[in-house]
């Protein structure tokens, strides 16, 4: 019995160890899976006509005529939306109506003055339109249909006044009549509610103060100062989110007192009276026709600069900056790392100096990355640069040198292992032929160790490209011009990923760009690491074959 129990325990233990690895794999998949999935949608997605408009205007891409035809086609379908909303607004948006009436009144006064009427005549006419204006405004504010009928009726009596015929004041009567008609159709008690709901629906359809809408600004509107407000939903997934927000109202309700609030959805159409409801069905059914989603491969994402802090465009400068910092950093690391490794293997006696050097390398590998940042700031930026006559400000060179120091241990360890694993027979053969030790290293050991050293180079590359903390104060910026020299700071993928995730409010509105940035970084590093792993296994097999 006890033996069986022990056997079972043993099995449980074995399963537990296996599960730990399964868990690790799941964690890896949970981290990479959603990231890669969402990030790839920065390049592969359903682009709408708004996307093609944006590409044409901002980056000059695409066929002008085809775009014009497409825009015309979509505008035709959209036209009905504009009309339905305008018609409804005449009854509901009393603020706008009041403003319109006031405007007409002012214009009329201007016209009178231009006509040089006698003073008495002028005052009388002016008084007349002022009364009309006040009555109309009272009617707009009123929530009683009978009162509105009375007020508008009074206003319309003046329509026959010959002195107003053919003047700008005539428009007032048209407004009054339209309002009377619209007011008959809606529930005046809900005036306020309609006005708010309409405002929000319009915001989602066109654009609100800060957010772009589904269809973009109405034709004829002056272009918005913010580029992102000039276009509608450029992506079909974005369009569907906006459409959902357009069609449904969400609010949190307390179903039972004391319980957590529950999210409830109800159709936005219910907030509006009968005449406007067709609008919602129309938009729902014709969204595709209004936006023309089409499969798009936006590979220029990897090349374009961003527009409106990553709302549009791509991550070109970030990739460039990461590459610059990496390449310059490698210029320092590769020679220093290989020479150090060679010295450690070839020339080192096992004395105390070697022990100190080894300890130095190990310590360097353990220093927290943020301390490297502090060091880079204190040494390179604030001490070395002024000493050499450069401006003491963060720049690519400082960031590269800081990262070079950080990744030096990786390079030294990998190269040392590579040089050490070259069979001694190679060296002995060369030495026996009379070559000097230096010559032997250059001509025999180094070429033999090269694949292994290359592994170290790739690992250092991926380390430099991925680190963020050391370049926070030494050369990374979140937004700024493309660097013109090594003494400019630069944007990088790593710092950009941080900024898009935490620092940037707009980032949340464009998750595809957010994830696109971080996935580019992760894939870059995984590809480098994969290459290093493959290279290493090949070298391993080759050395084993000997």
């Amino acid at each position: 019995m006890k033996l069986r129990f022990r056997g079972q325990l043993d099995r449980v233990f074995t399963i537990a160890t296996g599960l730990s690895v399964v868990l690790l794999t799941l964690v890896l998949l949970a981290i990479l899976g959603p990231m890669v999935y969402r990030g790839s949608s920065a390049v592969f997605f359903q682009g709408t006509v708004e996307f093609r408009k944006m590409q044409k205007n901002l980056f000059g891409r695409g066929d002008e005529q085809a775009l014009h035809a497409e825009v015309a086609e979509t505008e035709k379908v959209r036209q009905q939306v504009y009309e339905m909303i305008d018609a409804f607004k005449k009854g509901v948006d009393v603020e706008a109506l009041s403003e319109q009436v006031r405007q007409i009144h002012r214009q009329f006064g201007q016209d009178l003055r231009d006509r040089n009427l006698p003073a008495g005549e002028y005052t009388r006419l002016r008084e007349l339109t002022r009364q009309i204006r006040d009555k109309l405004e009272a009617a707009f504010r009123s929530q009683d249909i009978n009162e509105i009928k009375r007020l508008v009726g009074e206003v319309l009596k003046d329509e026959s006044n010959p002195q107003l015929k053919g003047t700008s004041a005539e428009k007032l009567f048209a407004i009054a009549r339209q309002f009377l008609q619209a007011a008959g159709q809606i529930d005046l008690g809900k005036h306020q509610e309609y006005a708010l709901a309409l405002q929000e629906a319009e915001g989602i359809l066109f654009h609100s103060e800060a957010l772009p809408g589904l269809l973009g600004p109405r034709p004829g509107e002056p272009p918005a100062p913010l580029v992102m407000l000039r276009y509608g939903a450029t992506r079909w997934d974005q369009a569907q989110t906006l459409l959902d927000r357009f069609l449904w109202v969400e609010h949190w309700v307390e179903e039972k007192p004391g319980e957590p609030l529950v999210l409830q959805r109800k159709p936005r159409a219910e907030l509006f009276p009968e005449p406007l409801r067709p609008l919602f069905t129309y938009v729902e059914q014709n969204a595709g026709k209004m936006l023309h989603p089409r499969r798009t491969v936006y590979w220029q994402f990897l090349r374009d600069d961003n527009v409106n802090s990553h709302y549009f465009g791509g991550i070109g400068p970030e990739i460039l900056g990461t590459m610059l910092i990496t390449v310059v950093g490698m210029l320092f690391v590769i020679p220093l790392g290989i020479i150090s490794a060679a010295y450690l293997v070839e020339c080192a006696s096992d004395g105390w100096t070697m022990r100190i050097i080894r300890m130095g390398i190990n310590t360097l590998a353990g220093v927290p990355s943020i301390v490297f940042g502090l060091f880079g700031l204190a040494f390179f930026v604030l001490f070395l640069f002024p000493l050499l006559g450069f401006a003491p400000r963060p720049c690519i060179l400082a960031a590269s040198m800081t990262l070079a120091v950080l990744t030096l241990p990786v390079m030294i360890r990998a190269s040392e292992e590579a040089i050490r694993s070259v069979p001694a027979t190679y060296k002995e053969g060369s030495l026996a032929l009379g070559a000097s030790r230096f010559h032997t290293f250059i001509a025999v050991t180094f070429p033999a160790a090269l694949p292994g050293i290359l592994t170290g180079v790739i690992l250092s590359l991926s380390r430099i490209a991925g680190e963020t903390a050391p370049i926070l104060f030494t050369g990374a910026v979140s937004l700024g011009a493309v660097p013109r020299s090594l003494f400019d700071p630069t944007r990088t993928l790593s710092y950009g990923s941080y900024d898009m995730a935490v620092g940037d409010r707009l980032g949340m509105m464009v998750p595809h760009n957010q994830y696109g940035m971080v996935v580019t970084l992760v894939l870059l590093i995984l590809i480098l690491n994969g290459a290093a792993i493959m290279l290493r296994t090949r070298v391993f097999k080759k050395l084993r074959g000997h």
Partner: protein, 325 residues
């Protein structure tokens, strides 16, 4: 020449040989000096790693001196209120130091059992082939840049934690320590696995021959024998966690407070690294605030140096133990 069987050795080199076979004393001396100088130059380059460590120490300490000399060290280490921009400023880093240790230790609580199980799995349970499949998974976990982990923590894990567990905020100590655990795992697994597999077959076979099951062998014989290496693994994992910046900055909530009650991982904390990263940009040059941040850097440096020495000691012991077995 070979065909003749008649080899003649001459002191004059062949026409195409680059070097004479015999050197004059002057050439000899020059060669010797050149070699010596070359060696010294190479030594200097190799020494640059040590130089870098010393420069790091010196420069980070120098920048913090202004703060350490004019402000009380007692307040820095023992006060909990961190108000660098108040007037007068208060630089009490205790809550932040505790926060650093807190998330790192919490990360170890998750990572150590899992890491040891995985190390045992790799070293004792599976064949070489399976191991070669699993090993890259661990390596990929180690290769993912920390900012990507932070990105995941703040955009995926934090909302999930908030939704599933009803925390008031998803960016808290639990979030940070879970991610730190994942980041420390590759270090723990590889060092622990090295020391467990270095023990050799004899020890295991002796235990099996006494009738122990595999679990008993591993838990009572192998792991106790490999304890030095495992301790080194844990210390190295802790080092990785305490020095990590981006993840804790993005995921820990950055509230300078000591969690109360102490086991409540759902509260926000702040770490040394995150404080440095977050406040350096706002601290004016030559201000006390900047000095205080550099002092935090010194503290971090001291902690990691200490842990480095401990890990080296245990690694050396593990090497000896592995050699003996």
């Amino acid at each position: 020449m070979m065909n003749d069987g008649n080899v003649t050795l001459t002191l004059t080199p062949a026409a195409d040989s680059p070097r004479p076979l015999v050197l004059t004393p002057g050439q000899d001396l020059r060669g010797y000096l050149a070699a010596l100088l070359g060696r010294a130059f190479l030594f200097f380059l190799t020494f640059s790693s040590v130089l870098a460590v010393m420069l790091i120490l010196v420069f980070v300490v120098i920048r913090s001196l202004g703060f350490l000399s004019s402000s009380s060290l007692m307040e820095f280490l023992a006060s909990q209120s961190w108000r660098p921009t108040a007037d007068p400023p208060v630089f009490g880093a205790l809550a932040i130091i505790v926060g650093s240790l807190y998330v790192s230790l919490a990360a170890l609580v998750f990572a150590v059992p899992l890491g040891i199980l995985a190390a045992v799995f790799l070293s004792d349970m599976v064949s070489w082939k399976v191991r070669n499949v699993v090993k890259p998974i661990v390596e990929i976990l180690a290769a993912i840049p920390s900012v990507a982990y932070g990105f995941f923590a703040v955009l995926v894990l934090a909302p999930w934690l908030q939704r599933e567990f009803g925390f008031s905020t998803g960016t808290n100590a639990l979030n940070a320590s879970l991610i730190l655990a994942v980041m420390a795992l590759p270090t723990i697994i590889s060092v622990a696995e090295d020391s467990i597999s270095a023990l050799g077959r004899e020890l295991r076979e002796a235990s099996y021959s006494c009738g122990a099951t595999r679990m008993e062998t591993l838990l009572r014989v192998v792991i106790p024998a490999a304890h030095s290496g495992i301790i080194a693994a844990v210390v190295l994992g802790m080092m990785r966690a305490i020095g990590e910046t981006m993840v804790v900055w993005m995921a820990s909530g950055n509230a300078p407070q000591i969690p109360h009650p102490w086991w409540d991982l759902a509260q926000s904390v702040r770490t040394l690294t995150a404080t440095i990263a977050g406040e350096m940009g706002e601290a004016p040059e030559t201000s006390l605030h900047r000095g205080a941040l550099f002092a935090m850097g010194v503290l971090l440096l001291l902690m990691t140096l200490g842990m480095n020495i401990v890990s080296e000691y245990f690694l050396a012991r593990a090497k000896k133990a592995g050699g003996k077995a």
